[in-house]
Amino acid sequence: MATMLTRRLMFGLPLVAVAAGGVASYALLERMGRGTYNPQAFNNPLVGHKVPDFSLPGHDGHAGFDQAAIMAQKRPLLVNFFASWCVPCVEEAPYLDAIAKSGLDIWGIAYQDKAAALDLYLAKNGDPYRRLASDAEGRVAINWGVYGVPESFLIAPGGEVRWHTAGPLFPEIIEDQLKPALQRLT
């Protein structure tokens, strides 16, 4: 009887392992399809820390901002790195508009962008930004650990980064991650 059990385990355990691997792979692919899992993403070490020291000029007509301005905020704030040349940013634009209308302030940082192209982009895709700074060289973005656009940072009153995502703010991410993170702040 004991050998029968051993034999069953010898055939059964690898089968179970393969099946579990299959289910896990399917779950990953499915989440990638929905846009809630990005295999290239990694944790930004800035989460849990104050925003770094920086100062950026405003894009024409908009107010720029610096570390002190973010730290002086009394309400939660979403800082959004984007660029007029970035396709996922265009896809994200309507959802950013909805977030702004829901009452969360968004401060934009245009990454390696040109003023004329940025004006066109805002005219076409809407302007949800309460403040809009220009990081023409992209050095401030590197200081924030940004590696591509769009990336968004949720900042608590006082200037501590509480949540971060690399990639567009699609509804699933907003519902599953951003809103719960925001609720923990208020």
Binding site: F42, P45, G148
Partner: protein, 154 residues
């Protein structure tokens, strides 16, 4: 023949001398002017860092805009006189250990670093158990089996 060799050697020496005089002592890379030893040091650092856009390429090899910017930052800091470790720490501080192509040995990476040793230990254990079982030999025949064996052999 001997004269020809001597002449060739003199010519080669002259050519090398001219080449040495012509070799620049500074070069410009990714918007930064630096000396050859500084550039060599910058390349060593860049080879240890991951380009975060093309994630399996080094910062030195990648054509991505972000990698080019990283190379500029590394070179500016090399010229400023920062050590290799200071520059690597600057990157890790912003992008985490993921930016390192060779993961450091920290509790989070213990499983990664020690998995070959663990696999070897498991393999040896299986081998040991299998051998011990084989050494035990087959169990003695029961009286019934004994009778049947006799019957077959007769």
């Amino acid at each position: 023949m001997k004269r020809l060799v001597v002449m060739a050697l003199v010519g080669l020496g002259l050519a090398l001398g001219i080449a040495a005089a012509d070799t620049p002592t500074t070069i410009r890379r990714d918007g930064v002017v630096l000396t050859i030893p500084q550039e060599k040091r910058a390349e060593v650092i860049g080879d240890r860092l991951r380009c975060l856009v093309c994630q399996n390429e080094t910062v030195e090899n990648s054509q991505a805009g972000l990698a080019k910017q990283f190379r500029g930052i590394i070179r500016r800091r090399v010229v400023k006189g920062e050590t290799n470790q200071q520059i690597i720490d600057f990157m890790v501080h912003r992008y985490g250990i993921f930016v390192l192509l060779k993961p450091p040995l920290i509790p989070l990476t213990w499983l990664l670093w020690f998995s070959p040793a663990i696999a070897l230990a498991l393999g040896l254990l299986v081998l040991l158990l299998a051998r011990r079982r084989r050494q035990q030999g087959p169990p003695p025949l029961s009286p019934d089996e004994h009778d049947r064996l006799k019957e077959l052999l007769s």
